[in-house]
């Protein structure tokens, strides 16, 4: 108990320091240096972090427990075992879905970002008839409840042979991810001064060269942002995966964990499911950590006098 309290204080102190470090950039930041408010901030941060992290910690704890102690209700495992992780990587029920997840998510992200970059560029730069319709249509699709198209999609996929294949999941993922990516990227493209492109054209660039050598490098933060959004959307999807697959041919991890079998028929595979949940969280964490450095504001600073 003492250990937990100490940990919480450390988290709080860290949070407070971050706020103060951010102070000079935000005019209001210095409020946090007042003792009363500072304490309030720390407590608030601790509460939010604890609330958000507790389920994750619990899952982590479960994944490290042995079958015998899995239901003991303790956060700190009595003994730590890697058995659940060994099990999921040897049983064959997890590795193939993991490959499916990585493959399908990466392919979808790549296609979505490339198409969205061109579409968003056109939307940001050109005035063409039906632009408003296109944008609102894209938004409507993004807001459409996926569950309402699952039934028809199931039938169509059975007929067309897309059922239980990678393209069978990539297509519906693209449908929902593209509008998001287009909207995000269009917002980034609009921020880039039009003069830069005209300067590139005068300097001898074709429109495509101007896009590739000037606009795209400047829109990289936006490209990474939308890539992350799309990737996480595909990675986390359960609905399409559970409905449009029947074997490990295309089933992704979220759906596959529901089909886990334990070593004996009389035990729930709770430990393995927890281990799988932890493993699938890792790529997301890595992705955000890697890309957050690229998502820096102010990349266009110095382009034009503003």
């Amino acid at each position: 108990m003492t250990a937990t309290t100490l940990g919480a204080e450390q988290v709080g102190a860290g949070g407070g320091r971050n706020l103060e470090a951010g102070g000079p950039r935000k005019p209001r930041g210095n409020r946090a240096t007042e003792p009363g408010r500072s304490l309030g901030w720390k407590l608030g941060v601790v509460a939010i972090v604890a609330y958000a992290m507790f389920p994750v910690l619990w899952i982590l704890s479960l994944s490290l427990k042995s079958d015998a102690t899995i239901a003991d209700g303790k956060l700190i495992p009595r003994e730590i075992t890697g058995q659940n992780y060994r099990d999921i990587f040897t049983s064959g029920e997890f590795v193939r879905p993991l490959i499916n997840s990585i493959g399908i998510s990466l392919i979808t992200t790549l296609i979505a970002v490339v198409i969205a970059a061109f579409a968003a560029y056109a939307i940001a730069r050109l005035d063409f008839p039906g632009k408003g319709l296109l944008l609102s249509g894209a938004l409507a699709i993004a807001m459409f409840p996926p569950v309402s198209i699952i039934g028809p999609l199931f039938d169509m996929w059975r007929v067309t042979g897309l059922y239980d294949t990678w393209p069978g999941l990539i297509l519906p993922y693209l449908t929902f991810a593209l509008p998001l990516a287009i909207w995000t990227l269009a917002a980034f493209f609009r921020e880039i001064p039009f003069d830069l492109e005209q300067a590139a054209q005068v300097d001898g660039a074709t429109p495509y060269q101007a896009f590739r050598k000037v606009i795209l490098p400047l829109a990289l933060p936006g490209v990474f942002t939308s890539a992350i959004i799309v990737f996480i959307f595909c990675w986390n999807d359960f609905l399409f995966s559970i409905s449009l697959t029947s074997t490990q041919n295309a089933r992704t991890v979220p759906a596959a964990t529901a089909f886990f079998t334990a070593s004996s028929n009389f035990v729930n595979p709770t430990g393995q499911i927890a281990a799988a949940a932890i493993v699938v969280t890792v790529p997301i964490i890595i992705m955000v950590l890697v890309f957050q450095r690229r998502i820096v504001a102010g990349l266009t600073a110095g382009a034009v006098k503003g």
Binding site: P193, D195, A199, D203, G204, P217, T300, A301, G302, K305
Partner: protein, 398 residues
């Protein structure tokens, strides 16, 4: 290097408004031409039509001997410096300047030598590896110019390049631009709303108003012999005094006195466009502030008019003295002057009283609030038709 020829260049928008109307202009090889006019006069649009960023609705644009109307900007071989510099923020100064060369697939060794030479000319050598964000305004301006000169283009185009700099730097960069243009001898078209830039830099200045070219001439000719009221009011600071006048024969009646036009003016009037008209007629008389003088300081007052007027206020600047004289009677041309003030983005003097701005010798002893005897050089007055605004008798260039 190349000449630029425009024939009947017109820019018409979808709603029928014309931003640029029927411009004919010949810019010689190596010439420095400045397009000047108040905001919204179409000067930037015209420049963008030369470079190809705006479509040409009508007319023919030639660079050298080639018609370029339908050519993309990249195929016109022109270099442009944008008002906001438009540097590529993700590239170093070196790569910014090398950008057009890389696109043209110039070999690496030559790119390096050309960029370094341009950097030397522009004093950017120490900053070659920095990003634009870490440069001062003046340095960014130099990089933008560097990007233009490394290419050795057919012409340089400048779109208000100095308007984002503070006053000191502006003067400095103005000299810099003049130096570089002289050094390379490249045809240059330069847009500005600042008449000082226009007068100091240009070989010839084109004054635009509402998309129509009013006069294309050397700075000296524009100042001494404006073709119409607009050019007269636009060029010169403080601007030319415009007062109503009544002309009968060679007698000119002004609100503050009457004079006989000198023979030379009368002759020009007879030979000019308003020539044969006999009898009385209304005119607008333009008098530059420096063509007034304290009568006591003028030896020979024969070729001018001496008059007495109250002095409202004076500004003594050491080398010269500005005296402001109130007079009445400007209502006769209030409508024309109001329109002119609107075109020039200036405020029109309100009320019945108008003010003459006179520049006198610093030795003058005129005093505020008292009557003063002033002399006006009749040989240097400008006469304009109140209806058309055209100059009636243009003084010779001095």
């Amino acid at each position: 290097m190349s000449s630029i020829t425009m024939r009947g260049i017109t820019k018409r928008y979808a709603d029928g408004t014309e931003a640029v109307s029927n411009v004919d202009m010949d810019i010689a090889d190596g010439e420095f031409v400045i397009l000047v006019g108040p905001s919204g006069c179409g000067k930037s649009t015209l420049l963008r039509m030369i470079v190809g960023l705006e479509d040409i609705s009508e007319g023919e644009m030639k660079i050298g001997d080639e018609v370029v109307n339908d050519r993309a900007p990249k195929d016109r071989d022109l270099a442009m410096v944008f008002q906001n510099y438009a540097l590529y923020p993700h590239l170093s100064v070196r790569e910014n300047m090398a950008f057009p060369l890389r696109l043209a697939k110039v070999p690496d060794a030559e790119v390096t030598s050309r960029v370094e030479e341009a950097a030397k000319v522009l004093e950017l050598t120490e900053n070659l590896d920095r990003k634009p964000a870490n440069l001062s305004g003046g340095q960014r301006q130099r990089v933008a110019m560097g990007r233009a000169i490394v290419r050795d283009p057919k012409a340089f185009l400048f779109d208000e390049p100095l308007s984002n700099l503070d006053a000191n730097l502006r003067v400095q960069m103005r000299t810099e631009i003049a130096r570089i243009q002289k050094k390379y001898g490249t045809t240059t078209v330069y847009v500005t709303h600042d008449q000082t830039e226009a007068m100091t830099l240009a070989d010839r200045v084109a004054v635009l108003r509402k998309g129509v070219v009013q006069q294309v001439d050397s700075p000296r000719n524009l100042y001494n012999s404006p073709a119409n009221l607009f050019v007269a009011g636009f060029i010169g600071s403080p601007s030319m005094n415009l007062v109503p006048g009544r002309l009968s024969g060679s007698r000119l009646e002004l609100p503050f006195g009457t004079m006989d036009l000198p023979d030379e003016v009368a002759q020009r009037l007879a030979g000019g466009s308003g020539g044969a008209q006999a009898g009385e007629r209304q005119v607008i008389v333009g008098i530059r502030p420096e063509h007034f003088e304290d009568a006591s300081l003028v030896g020979d007052t024969s070729h001018g008019m001496t008059f007495t007027n109250r002095v409202d206020s004076i500004e003594w600047l050491g080398s010269e003295l500005y005296a402001y004289l109130p007079y009445t009677g400007a209502e006769a041309i209030a409508q024309q002057l109001g329109q002119l003030a609107g075109d020039l983005d200036m405020e029109q003097s309100s009320g019945d009283e108008s003010q003459l701005v006179t520049r006198l010798d610093a030795a003058s002893r005129v005093e505020e609030g008292k009557q003063a005897e002033l002399w006006l050089d009749a040989r240097r007055i400008h006469l304009f038709d109140p209806e058309t605004g055209e100059a009636l008798a243009r003084p010779p260039v001095v």
